[in-house]
């Protein structure tokens, strides 16, 4: 007689992916916000393909926007298979710190599960924070899951605050990705949606270190963008 498999209900491991998007007034200049909307929308099929490559990771996507305060664009963790993008609109200042504090609240246990894979946080900004960014970052890094998250930042245009974006990453081996035109932004978003997602989806253990979770792939240091810089 074939016995039942021991133990209770099985489950794949959740992987929480957060888009953290700057919707300040400057993002409305030169089509930056439209480029961001298009880039994320184009990346969705690629995210689905990357997620399908590791069926044991359940990719759950959310998005938060910040300008005057911070607000959830997509508040519920949404399976990447059902994830649809709602266009962002740009207007207001740059309350980046508040966005990080709100993300931090979602990384507490609960609602996070202690068997989850490292979350992926992607911060996209074209300027400087207008609120207390350091307090928001501290709140995020005070959370065990915030500290262990894979944190990537994309600097949109030349006016982006690279110091802030580097602090967010918290790993001297990783720099903010630069996007000075729509094509570059699409490329950076695609890389984050595929290579980073695949790396974070791996179940492999790694040695605990003082730095954040390592990425098991090379960051694109030089990307050939054919378009001219316009931002």
């Amino acid at each position: 007689m074939v016995a039942r498999r021991p133990g209770g209900e099985l489950s794949t491991r959740p992987l929480h992916f957060f888009w953290i998007c700057d919707c300040s007034g400057s993002m409305s200049v030169d089509g930056k916000i439209q480029a961001l909307n298009n880039a994320i929308r184009q990346a969705i099929p690629l995210m689905r393909e990357a997620a399908a490559d590791n069926p044991n990771a359940q990719v759950l996507v959310r998005a938060i926007r910040f300008s005057d305060g911070a607000h959830w664009q997509i508040a519920e963790p949404t399976s990447v298979d059902r994830f649809e993008w709602t266009d962002l609109v740009a207007d207001g200042i740059t309350d980046m710190g508040q966005a990080l504090s709100m993300v931090a609240a979602q990384l507490r246990v609960p609602p996070m599960s202690d068997r989850a894979l490292p979350p992926v946080l992607v911060l996209i900004s074209d300027g400087q924070p207008t609120d207390d960014f350091n307090a928001g970052l501290r709140t995020l890094m005070d959370e065990q899951w915030g500290k262990r998250a894979v944190r990537i930042s994309i600097a949109v245009g030349r006016d982006a605050d690279h110091d802030v974006l580097r602090k967010f990453i918290g790993n001297p081996e990783l720099k903010p990705l630069m996007a000075n035109n729509p094509e570059a932004l699409v490329n950076r978003i695609k890389w984050v949606s595929t290579a980073v997602l695949k790396s974070a989806s791996s179940p492999a253990s790694q040695v605990q270190t003082a730095q954040k979770t390592e990425l098991s792939m090379r960051v694109p240091e030089t990307v050939v963008d054919t378009a001219d810089d316009i931002w």
Binding site: G8, R115, L117, Q208
Partner: protein
């Protein structure tokens, strides 16, 4: 008082990060070194429980790490890294880190359950789980070791860390406390496959029931169980070891260890690496059980024989002494005086203390 025999279950899980590209070797060395150290300490050392606890918590982890580090560094010297394709894929800063501390390339965890006729020792470095199922509460397996809250998001402590011996969690439980009916030792891929801690802990009573039904039946199905669990759960490799307490005579209370490896990365002392086909894995697991039985039973037999031989020798000596006493009494023509002699403790009585 000495330990007369023991059973050691050791499991080691190599890390999956690119910089731990020789962790399969590291995990193999981990179980080999650990088992040897356990035998060196607990079969030789004649000490009270306080001293044995100190050994388990300090000396044993120190020596495991030291001997493991020595072995992996010897391997590093003998096997230049420029012949390893994994080395080319690493970033320069990572290569520098490994050149300064080659043991990083071999990083692995270590989980052990050591059952003797006097106590049980649980020992763990890194992620994974050790569970004990007690006869009065089979539905609620216990963790003999505290959970390390740092070990989330695939992060683990490791043999390759500086002062790794300080990261060990250790518990020595004398047989004066309740004995578990079943001890389970598993790599982290197992627990990560269940939707919650509660769902994972159900394996305790399930395995106990199956073992009480048929050990052979469980061993035959175990590869499929673990494969199904991994496929529908974490996707990670799973290694599982079991020690069951048998309800017969006192020597048999030490139980029989069983081990199964769902895939190749875990390393288990005394078992061959699992093969790809499920039927071959079952065969190897069964043969392994037989090998352990073949090794363990003669050891027990030898101990019993040794005990009997020593007792016979003791009786003969006692008679000889008695004879000499009579002669002495006759020669000196003095009143009998009480003669006292110290009876040396006999090794390997095989009797539980």
């Amino acid at each position: 008082m000495a330990v007369s025999d023991l059973i050691v279950l050791a499991i080691s899980d190599g890390h999956g990060s690119p910089k731990n590209f020789r962790s399969a070797i590291g995990s193999q060395y981990a179980v080999e070194v650990a088992c040897r150290m356990v035998r060196d300490y607990f079969l030789v050392e004649r000490a009270d429980l306080a001293r044995l606890t100190e050994i388990a918590e300090r000396a044993l982890p120190q020596q495991i790490v030291a001997q493991w580090t020595r072995r992996v560094r010897n391997h590093w010297q003998a096997n230049p890294v420029d012949r390893d394709s994994s080395w080319e894929k690493l970033q320069p800063s990572t290569r520098t880190e490994i050149l300064n501390a080659p043991e990083i390339a071999y990083g692995a965890t270590l989980l052990m359950a050591i059952v003797t006729d006097r106590f049980i020792v649980y020992l763990q470095l890194g992620d994974g789980d050790i569970l004990c199922v007690y006869p009065d509460q089979p539905q609620q397996p216990q963790r003999p070791l505290p959970i390390d809250p740092r070990l989330i998001a695939n992060e683990t402590t490791s043999l390759c860390m500086p002062e790794a011996w300080k990261e060990f969690r250790v518990q020595l439980q004398p047989h004066t406390s309740a004995l578990p009916s079943l001890i389970l030792v598993a790599t982290d891929g197992y627990a990560n496959s269940y939707s919650s801690e509660a769902e994972f802990l159900k394996i305790g009573t399930d395995y106990l029931d199956m073992l009480q039904d048929s050990v052979e039946g469980l061993m035959a199905q175990l590869p499929n169980f673990l494969q199904e669990t991994s496929q529908q759960g974490s996707g990670d490799d799973i290694t599982l070891g079991l020690i069951q307490r048998l309800e017969t005579d006192s020597l048999s209370e030490l139980g029989t260890p069983m081990l199964e490896q769902q895939k190749r990365t875990g390393n288990v002392q005394e078992f061959a690496e699992s093969q790809k086909r499920a039927t071959l894995r079952s065969t190897i697991a069964f043969l392994g059980l037989m090998v352990l039985s073949i090794v363990t039973l003669p050891l027990i037999g030898w101990l019993l024989f040794r005990t009997a031989a020593l007792e016979a020798q003791h009786q003969e000596q006692a008679k000889r002494i008695e004879g000499l006493q009579e002669q002495l009494a006759k020669l000196t023509e003095v009143k009998d005086q009480p003669t006292t002699y110290k009876e040396a403790p006999v090794k390997g009585t095989g009797k539980p203390q």
